[in-house]
């Protein structure tokens, strides 16, 4: 069972990985494997493919542990970034533009409840108009391209692109 994030020393495990201690990578896997797989699955929409992504991510985490720079962000955040970008590379690769089924569960369909989350980003998202918020969530959580978001929201592509640009500006202002 994963520990609370605050009780688990990600940086120390990563430093141990850099020294070649396989058990530290195993600890990280037990701690974050299910959440990383959840994130990857939501993006690539296929369990086998998502496991491929997490497999590749842990190889990258192992090999990159020595080069990890804590000044650039948290070790936990880095593990999620590595995993998300591997999944996104796969999603955006030529010919892989996955058509989504209407039945596909998406982040923006979940009733968005900012109060269920304490992190500041949820407070900032709540300030956005619902459609613009949907753009951000469909992109970050569901991995939708501009065109997929436009189709999903039945909105012109140019409008979606402008909404995303403005939403990012608003989020940056709000988050600092």
């Amino acid at each position: 069972m994963p520990l609370a994030e605050s009780a688990f020393d990600y940086e120390a495990r990563l430093a141990a990985c850099a020294r070649g201690e396989r058990s530290a990578l195993r600890d990280l896997y037990v701690q974050e494997g299910p959440r990383l797989l959840g994130v990857a699955k939501r993006l690539v929409r296929d369990t086998a493919l998502a496991e491929d992504v997490v497999h590749e991510a842990f190889i990258k985490i192992w090999n990159g542990a020595a080069g990890f720079d804590p000044a650039r962000g948290s070790a936990r955040g880095w593990m999620f970034s590595v995993t998300r970008h591997l999944a996104l590379n796969l999603l955006r690769d030529h010919g892989r533009e996955t058509p989504f089924s209407e039945a596909h569960e998406t982040a923006a369909d979940d009733s968005f409840d900012a109060h269920a989350h304490s992190a500041r980003i949820y407070h900032c998202l709540e300030q956005l108009e619902p459609q613009r918020r949907s753009c951000v969530l469909h992109a970050y959580v569901d991995g939708y391209s501009h065109a997929q978001i436009a189709a999903r929201l039945d909105t012109p592509l140019g409008t979606v692109k402008a909404w995303i640009k403005r939403s990012l500006n608003a989020l940056r202002e709000c988050m600092g």
Binding site: G20, R22, L25, R26, Y29, G33, P34, R35, L37, G38, V39, K41, R42, L43, T47, A50, E51, V54, H55, F58, I59, W62, N63, R72, G73, S74, G77, F80, S81, R84, H85, L88, N89, L91, R92, D93, H94, A107, D110, H117, A119, R120, I121, Y122, V136, L137, A139, Y140, V141, G143, Y144, S145, H146, I149, I164, K165, L168, L171, R172, M175
Partner: protein, 230 residues
């Protein structure tokens, strides 16, 4: 490439982290990241801002086969480079013998040139990976230093070596200019405070005109700290 405003860069970084860039745009960002500290800082900031949204994806228990598969892949990676004891580490002995050679050359040159004042600072610049010495710096006074190559290093045609120094307490490294591989160089330090013990010197690989932002951006080729000669 046209110059990019901070606003453009931040939008590119934001959409990169959000995931809405095309494959070509993503590849371009990933190609730039290792050598573009400003873009990297913008991407890092977006990663931090949006990270908590990963909570919206429900966790999923990996299959029991996934961890063994990861371990097998790691085994394959590590068998390529079997672990050896330090006694059998070629780079270590190479490095040590080269350091010995460097010391001999330095001491020899000091003996042969006793008419010139003996250097009061020495720096041996070594490669960060295998610690092989590539250059020595000697300073007979604290206003000028000589950079002396111990061999010829290969620099790609579209790159140049840039020489940097930073003493304890300085805001950041200061460029001492571009360095041609294999050529000795005298560098006046008249714009800088006098040399200090432990002052850092390094050579990084930059574009042909040097770093565009006045700070090292490329990989370190050689690095060392000043030692006061008694």
């Amino acid at each position: 490439m046209t110059s990019e405003s901070a606003q453009d860069r931040d939008e590119l970084a934001g959409e990169y982290v959000l995931g809405t860039l095309s494959f070509e745009q993503r590849s371009e960002v990933q190609r730039r990241l290792p050598n573009d500290p400003e873009l990297r800082a913008a991407v890092d900031a977006w990663e931090r801002r949006l990270l908590e949204l990963t909570d919206l994806a429900p966790s999923q228990q990996p299959s029991a086969l996934l961890w063994p598969r990861i371990e097998r892949s790691l085994d394959r990676l590590t068998t390529k480079a079997p672990s050896t004891s330090w006694w059998n580490l070629l780079p270590l002995w190479r490095g040590l013998s080269a350091i010995g050679l460097a010391a001999t050359l330095i001491l020899g040159s000091i003996l042969l040139t006793q008419t010139t004042p003996k250097p009061n600072f020495l720096v041996v610049l070594v490669a960060p990976q295998d610690k092989a010495p590539g250059w020595v710096i000697q300073a007979s006074n604290s206003r000028e230093i000589q950079l002396i190559p111990l061999g010829v290093v290969e620099v790609p045609a579209d790159k140049a070596l840039e020489f940097w120094t930073k003493a304890d307490g300085w805001q950041g490294p200061v460029s001492l200019g571009l360095v041609k591989p294999g050529q000795a160089l005298s560098v006046p330090l008249d714009k800088l405070p006098p040399l200090q013990p432990n002052q850092l010197f390094e050579l990084t690989l930059e574009g042909t005109n040097g770093s565009p932002i006045g700070k090292p951006t490329g990989p370190i080729q050689a690095i060392g700290r000043a030692v006061k000669v008694l």
